[in-house]
Amino acid sequence: MKGYLKLFSLLALMLMLAACGKSGSTTSNNSAASDEKTVIEYWHVNAETQGGKTVEELVKAFNEQSKTTKVVAKYNPDMYKGLMQNLQAEAASGKSPAVVQVGWSFLDYFSNNFSYISPQEVIDQHFPDDRTFLKDHFLDNVLELAQNSEGIQVGIPYSLSTPVLYINKDLLKEAGLDENGPKTWQEVKEFSKKIKEKTGKHGFYMQEPADNWATQALLESNGARMLSGKKAAFASKEGIEAYQLLADMIVKDKTALHLPWDQGVQSFIDGNVAMAYTTIARRSQIQDNAKFNAAAIKSPAWEGKNVRLPAGGAMLAITAQEEKQQKAAWEFMKYLYSVESMAKWTEGTGYVPPRKDVAEDENGLKDFLAENEMMKAAIEQMDGVVSWTSFPGDAGLEAEQKLLDIRDEILGGKTSVEEGLKTTEKEINKLLK
């Protein structure tokens, strides 16, 4: 009996899926019939769980209202790197989509290796009314994020994220600490120690994905710079001091964790780590799964210094080659940057809106922010946002990798911070020459 039921439900599910597939294909046939429309491709990295649905909604809404353009959204797996790889394959075969998402860390790589057109150029050529669109709606430090090392505006910031400190208020309270969390990195260290002493749980985890995003926030907030001119400069006094704090927490005090990203965030959600320093883009995961009183607070600063937080996420760039396609690309982008679309994007993904007027607007995020305390921390620290350093030139990715390799050495307790950073800086500068 049960077996039948299973079989039946499986069949029903298959039928439903088939039906969905059918309806999807017929609609696309219909709109393709009106062939005066320019068809352009939009490449994104947003899987179903990471805002993919919002992409679909936005594209659908755009197609319904546009008389001249039809957008086809194409999902690229494996995030921005995956998209770059596909774009390489596409470029090799002589084709290109019209609008692509380019991750910040690929900014220089993209502008050195692909043929693109600056959005402002398209605007100047075809849309005189929009001439001041970018200046009017974006903060200068935000627009700068999408400029390459030569100062060319490669694209427009679209998905923005910054690192925030997630805290487990219950654990902080249990350890007798201020439940509003630490304000400075020095406090983070002290908090972490207390938590370990009082509760036996770990105090702190800083994200360790295959990039140096969070490391940059830690070092640059203390006054160090990843790059100075075209040379690596992170092994300065301030850089070493900042890294030392993290290494001490892990290696000496053993109050912080040295784990891959997923396991680290998991441990925070399980309530085994009291504070986690990671991207605001993880907000919904943490909000939905944590069973304790979780909050997000602004990135800790170094005492007496201003924070410098690298922006994560992506910009939109125009890779269309023909004029007609370029025009269509801007029409679509302008739609995406409208207050309403931006608000939808933030709600669907957890990214911070790059446009300055979205947060307060009635049609924008006003109501949403009233309910989502966690998002506030990320929006409030927008003035501290700087661009995510990508090492220049062909060897940039290799340089980035070197810094990752030394992270494992240092946090694994195999090399001292000073020696590790100094030799790595030398190696990287040799590469960049």
Partner: protein, 302 residues
């Protein structure tokens, strides 16, 4: 009669049929094996990042770089360690298990067979994600259980050595079942009379295994031996990619993952191609050794 004049072979209808049947697989082989292989050799002499329109010819520079890079040796060392571990987990243990299930145990055999084979059908990506959670050293179920006994689980994903052991275990989740079934079939195919006779004579089990079962199933044994090494190394790729990305500091990378890393993360196509060719050369050497020394002692029934 024809054998007397081997120089002149006439193409009969049978020949044509045979070649006709060969062609589909030949095409696939050429398209997906030989052509990429040739292209890899070609690429290993160039400096290229997959996008630039021009490839710069650098001669043997890539090989020089690979051979002077300490990471290369670390990675090859890891590869050996992986091979050793995979052979223990996926050849020796299933061999013994097959023997035990077939000859020693008499009850619940079907249940064991099914249970052991089952994980092989599940995707390794899913498996890797599952194990990341199960083996989370701080808050995973395994860590909690160890905690009851007062043992702290080592943070395996960041420790040299440990990370290779755990990744091998995760991989074997996928490989073990298949190897087991193949070995079981082979052990099962050994004539019962021989084994029963030995048992009647009171020969101890370990002697039956080493002197009867092992030699008589050695043809399959050698197949599983090779498949374990070659396929195992490729399977390990998945958990490496999902869990550690080769880290900490290449401690979990193997030759295959490292070639991928160089080509598709750092876009150093030439370096990666040179590494792949060197790996290939080492494997060819191993195969020649295998044919020379091991193959001789193998017993083929037909």
């Amino acid at each position: 009669m024809q054998a007397a004049k081997p120089a002149k072979i006439k193409f009969t209808a049978d020949h044509w049929k045979a070649y006709g049947l060969l062609i589909p697989s030949l095409i696939i082989f050429i398209l997906f094996m030989f052509w990429p292989f040739m292209y890899t050799i070609y690429l290993s002499f160039f400096d290229w990042n997959m996008v630039k329109p021009t490839k710069e010819f650098v001669g043997l520079q890539n090989y020089k770089e690979v051979l002077t890079d300490p990471t290369t040796y670390k990675v090859f060392g890891n590869t050996l360690l992986y091979i050793g571990l995979l052979l223990i987990i996926n050849l020796i243990i299933p061999y013994i298990l097959a023997f035990v299930l077939d000859i020693v145990l008499k009850r619940f055999n079907h249940l064991y067979k099914g249970a052991i084979f089952l994980p092989s059908v599940i995707s390794l990506v899913v498996g890797s994600i599952l194990f990341t959670w199960l083996l989370n050293p701080v808050s995973g179920p395994a860590a909690i259980i160890l905690g009851w006994f007062g043992i702290d689980m080592p943070i395996w994903s960041k420790l040299d050595g440990w990370v290779i052991v755990v990744l091998s275990l995760i991989t074997s989740w996928k490989v073990f079942g298949y190897n087991f079934i193949v070995l079981y079939a082979s052990v099962n195919g050994i004539s019962r009379e021989v084994i029963e006779a030995a048992r009647l004579d009171g020969v101890p089990l370990w002697k039956i295994f080493f002197h009867l079962v092992l030699p008589m199933s050695s043809a399959t044994g050698i197949y599983v031996f090779i498949i374990t090494i070659v396929q195992g190394l490729q399977y390990v790729f998945t958990p490496i990619k999902v869990i550690t990305q080769g880290g900490p500091n290449y401690a979990s990378s193997n030759a295959i993952y490292h070639a991928y890393h160089e080509a598709f993360v750092l876009y150093r196509t030439g370096h990666s191609a040179a590494l792949s060719i060197l790996t290939m050369a080492i494997f060819i050497l191993l195969l020649i050794l295998e044919f020379k020394f091991v193959e001789r002692g193998i017993h083929y029934e037909n």
